[in-house]
Symmetry: C2
Subunit: 135 residues, 2 copies
Amino acid sequence: MANDVNFILDPRLENDTILIKDLKLSKLLLMNNKLYPWLILVPKKHNITEIIDLTPPEQQTLLSEINQTSTLLQKIYNPDKLNIAALGNVVSQLHIHLIARYKNDITFPKPVWIDDRKEFYSEKEIADIKKKIIR
Amino acid sequence: MANDVNFILDPRLENDTILIKDLKLSKLLLMNNKLYPWLILVPKKHNITEIIDLTPPEQQTLLSEINQTSTLLQKIYNPDKLNIAALGNVVSQLHIHLIARYKNDITFPKPVWIDDRKEFYSEKEIADIKKKIIR
């Protein structure tokens, strides 16, 4: 999958997240908010806002990266439920949220986007998460 | 794709929606709330709560049904943005929301799940939507 030279990560996504890893199609980002285990996939494609804007092979890769990321979240966090969503009402650049939810997290059963609270990770916590995800 | 004889639509989904059509894998439902053009896909599989619980061929069919439904929503409603999500915090039976959003809808840019308001469709409106979707 050729890299799209015109792709630039939206500055709001860049600001809110930490790069974990470049996958084949997407950047795998960690939302810098320790209230929820929350990863984001951003296909490295210029000017794409909807999943159906991707070509069929890109969609296949995205599905596979969603599966990989889901499996990771389940293995690392053992959540009660995954929340997977492509919304993009604020940042229109296509990005897929993958969030590990617990029945006793502070917002359950409501979706996390209603909650404006944020707690940043420490450098040490980020390094630990990266190690768990990348190995 | 063999029908799963043990599949029963969750009673809350059944209560909140209108059946539009049985697709190969999923039931295509219309959320009975005219505040948002809102369709739901429910794979007819027993005891499945996550996309990764589906087999690879089932996932392929789901992706294709998400594409079909997205195209339909764009064609019929010409939205500013699609919102596609598998949450399942309240109803754990796997179901995918596909919602046509407008920059001037009553909740934008927030996700629709924060809004408890509901306005039911009339019989005539339901018949019109079915006609548009099924043709």
